[in-house]
């Protein structure tokens, strides 16, 4: 029941057994350490983020979703540090969807960077009030007291009071508006690789992910959805499905036909037996070839410019030498290991959901709209999340579960199979990058053009205009850091029926592949070292130059390598973070590629938990390598061709390079780390392949045929 909790599975069963259905069906679930938000009275709760109980426990609310990036440790670290709390006396409460938290979107690598100030303030507020309570108790000046390890200490009189003892009085005091923040030199937790608090539960299999959540009397559901994008159910015949052992009901909802059963397996088999006729709609002929043709057309049209420095066309016309190249990447599926799922319970007084969601507020708001329900009648609890990578920002799976539960009249868990997940994703858009550049007589870059041709994400999903779509699609292209006097970047929108969505690092998965490989082409053509060429154009970009220099140094750029090994590098700035990566590869005669080592340097400002930054860089690099070496979603007859991991493979242990991460020390505000590790890896590898083979990779995924000597 404690969806995100350290409570053991055994405790969970015990609690639910004891609690019985009366409590289970209640809106609030007031049990459990680190469980749901509780209705409380008495203790000290100065703001939405924290509460001190009379026993001294500091309850810290986590408002972002646990996707694997460690927010349930790192966000409490910030809060506990400013609060002066004893780390062993904290409990975490996973926040339900609630506007008081501000944004709860766990996306855009924002959890730390946008929570840093509010959480520090929230913790400092609590600390100031506890100090004030102690000072009042002792009749001393607050300035003579200090807080440490969940105690307020008055050294002149050698007195101490625990936070629990001070909670009641503190709760009666005025909330200060500008509490003093800690001097960073006094940080106790921030900057330390504290162990992730949920790891024991994860390692023991006790973490309750969305798919593991269960309600009494709950049915399992599988939904038959139209495989063609934009299609719908025309008719269905439930009679065969109803004969499957364990199948209890078949209901139609807006997104398809749901088979409800007593077990997941029965729901799957029932759906298999279900006869459904679909109206495939207007896009039943959509194919990858058709989309490529659409790109051909759209790239001829005027784009929406997002950067215009100088006069690029004139500079190209008057240049000593020009370069042109086209880079292409396919659609990608997020494919988190936990397929989509959501549990919903529809009652007369509202609907309650347990969702592995990255955006519970968005889900709640969208449901209010489409279900025609007041917001306060919708409760969204966030569970442990088995990978997300952007897919779980979308509210579709929550809305569908709510509708199925409404139609079923009992609590329902809608389970997606891997095939469902892969066929009904919101895909990383395919894109084409038309690059032009020019150098003068001294081989200096004087002009750079980058046209991104792609479907947009913000357009279809958020109704954003062409400028916003262009801004998003040229992310990582328009902010090219290099000192080139004439730069022109634009976007030609090519929207299709294929749903698009935010994938880890969004268009920064694509643009640096074009930027950094094209730059490498120019370096090679002019006989320049790729590192030197970049550094020469980064004179006024110290943080970009800083990571590039660090990565190059740690990788031994320019030093001899073992026979057959070659290096490539790439630099990219995204989510306010600077990352450079150097890849070391070898290529066999038959085109088999080995990525042996990746050296990564990152500047993300102040680091909260260094080992988590390292882990996120490792994860981003693996996801980027999967995309570079394997990832491709194709379309035929209006639907996705790939069904499962056999056709959409992921990087494996055998292919895992040695990854080394180096963090630039910094006193700047913290920036994002969930996504920025991914963007540089594809160009770093492609550039290393060029060094190894002289072959240019301008299309992902990289195929052995692209590399073979014959």
């Amino acid at each position: 029941m404690t969806t995100v909790s350290q409570v053991s599975r055994r405790d969970f069963l015990k609690v639910t057994g004891v609690a019985g259905s009366g409590l289970l069906l209640g809106f609030n679930f007031p049990f459990g350490r680190d469980g749901f938000a509780m209705t409380v009275s008495g203790p000290f709760k100065p703001n939405v983020w924290l509460q001190i109980d009379p026993d001294g426990t500091a309850k810290l609310w986590v408002h972002r979703s646990p996707l694997g990036q460690g927010v349930r440790t790192s966000l409490p670290m910030i809060l506990a540090d400013e609060l002066g709390a004893d780390w062993s006396k904290i409990e975490r409460v996973q926040g339900d969807a609630n506007p008081d938290f501000g944004s709860q979107v766990t996306g855009g690598s924002t959890s730390i960077r946008t929570s840093w100030v509010p959480l520090r303030n929230a913790g400092a507020t609590g600390r100031a009030m506890l100090i004030a309570a102690a000072a009042q108790t002792w009749g001393v000046e607050p300035s003579t007291c200090r807080a440490y390890n969940s105690e307020v200490i008055h050294e002149p009189s050698d007195r101490k009071l625990g936070y629990g003892e001070l909670a009641e009085l503190a709760s009666t005091l005025p909330v200060p508006s500008n509490p003093p923040l800690k001097d960073p030199k006094d940080f106790r937790y921030i900057g330390k690789s504290l162990p992730r608090l949920d790891h024991p539960a994860r390692a023991k299999g006790e973490a309750v992910f969305g798919l593991d959540f269960k309600l009494p009397g709950m049915l399992f559901a599988c939904v038959a959805r139209c495989p063609v994008f934009g299609g719908s159910v025309q008719s269905y015949d439930a009679s065969d499905a109803m004969t499957v052992d364990g199948v209890r009901d078949v209901v139609e909802v807006e997104s398809g036909v749901a088979v409800l059963a007593e077990s997941t397996w029965a729901a799957m088999k029932g759906r298999e037996a279900l006869q459904v006729e679909f109206d495939y709609g207007p896009d039943a002929d959509l194919s990858s070839e058709g989309i490529a043709k659409l790109f051909d057309e759209r790239q001829q049209e005027a784009g929406v410019a997002t950067r215009e420095d100088g006069d690029t066309d004139a500079a190209i016309a008057g240049a000593a030498r020009t370069f042109d190249a086209v880079y292409e990447v396919p659609y990608l599926s997020h494919a988190p290991l936990e397929p989509m799922n959501c549990t919903a319970h529809w009652r007369d007084d509202g609907v309650e959901l347990w969702a592995p969601s990255q955006a519970p507020q968005w889900g709640r708001g969208t449901m209010a709209q489409v279900l025609g329900m007041p917001l306060e009648k919708i409760t969204v609890h966030v569970t442990f999340v088995g990978g997300a990578f952007g897919r779980r920002l979308m509210p579709d799976f929550m809305i569908e579960a709510a509708r199925v539960a409404k139609a079923a009249g009992v609590p329902v868990k809608v389970v997606w199979t891997r095939e469902d997940d892969m066929h009904h994703d919101f895909y990383r858009p395919a894109s084409r990058h038309i690059m032009s550049a020019a150098i003068d007589g001294e081989d200096t870059l004087v002009a750079w053009k980058h046209r991104v041709v792609s479907p947009s994400i913000v357009g279809p999903n958020l109704g954003a205009d062409a400028n916003a779509a262009a801004g998003e699609a040229t992310g990582g292209a328009a902010d090219l850091p290099y000192a080139i006097p004439n730069i022109y970047v634009d976007h030609c929108a090519a929207d299709t029926a294929v749903p698009t969505g935010w994938f880890r690092s969004v268009f920064n998965t694509q643009t640096p592949f074009a930027n950094e490989c094209f730059l490498d082409e120019i370096a090679a053509a002019t006989g320049k070292d790729p590192y030197e060429l970049r550094m020469a154009m980064l004179a006024d970009k110290p943080r970009h130059a800083g990571v590039l220099e660090l990565a190059a140094k740690k990788a031994g750029w320019g030093d001899p390598l073992p026979e057959g090994r070659f290096r490539g590098l790439a630099l990219h700035y995204s989510f306010q973070t600077y990352v450079a990566e150097v890849a070391e590869v070898s290529v066999e005669e038959d085109g088999t590629l080995h990525v042996h080592r990746v050296v990564c340097a990152i500047d993300c400002g102040i680091v909260i938990n260094p080992d988590e930054v390292t882990a996120q860089m490792e994860g981003g690099i693996v996801m980027g390598l999967t995309a570079a070496l394997k990832g491709e979603i194709t379309l035929e007859k209006g639907r996705v061709v790939q069904n499962n991991f056999d056709a959409y493979p992921l990087l494996t242990m055998r292919e895992m390079p040695k990854v080394e991460v180096h963090i630039v020390p910094s006193t700047e505000a913290p920036t994002g780390v969930g996504e920025p590790g991914l963007p540089p890896i594809a160009p770093a590898v492609a550039n290393a392949i060029f060094a190894a083979t002289g072959k240019r990779i301008r299309r992902l995924p990289i195929r052995p045929d692209d590399l073979s000597a014959t």
């Binding site: 162990p195 790891h199 390692a203 052992d245 077990s263 990978g387 990578f389 991991f645 895992m656």
Partner: protein, 152 residues
């Protein structure tokens, strides 16, 4: 429906399910042992790995009719009530990210260590490559296996 008996984590269990039900769903839905995860349903990701008579098996692809009367160990029973050295190593090496695939990874690693107590990197590549992790924790899994091997 049909009745099947099997031993799960040392305890004999009887379930009444359709004979083609994969062991995975018997464990998860009938026995409420949800530490074993569903990832692909076709034995491609191995998040569902359990030990059947000591061997690592993808439970999504083993029907209950073939698992009957056999001895099954899941992540919940791996440490016999304590942390298994691999689970300890997993925590110490900060292996999990989302953690979803990790029960399967740990069960796979436990089968490897049972067979080869001091595995080389090549042994780990061979044994662990079928186990997918979308978060990209492979490097740490390798380290954790070596660490646990030292301890065992």
């Amino acid at each position: 429906m049909a009745r099947f008996s099997l031993t799960v984590n040392g305890k004999t269990q009887t379930v009444d399910v359709s004979p083609d039900t994969p062991l995975l769903w018997v464990l998860r839905d009938s026995l409420e042992l949800t530490g074993t995860k569903f990832g692909c349903g076709i034995g491609q990701c191995r998040a569902c790995t359990v030990h059947v008579d000591g061997s690592a098996v993808p439970s999504c692809s083993l029907p209950i009719s073939a698992a009957a009367d056999r001895d099954v160990t899941t992540i919940e029973g791996l440490g016999n009530g304590k942390l298994h050295p691999l689970q300890k190593a997993w925590i110490e090496e900060n292996v999990p990210q989302c953690g979803y695939c990790q029960p399967g990874q740990i069960m796979g690693a436990a089968a490897l260590l049972a067979k080869s107590p001091k595995p080389s990197d090549a042994d780990i590549d061979e044994a662990m490559s079928p186990y997918l992790c979308r978060c990209g924790t492979y490097q740490r899994i390798r380290r954790a296996i070596h660490r646990a091997a030292e301890e065992v």
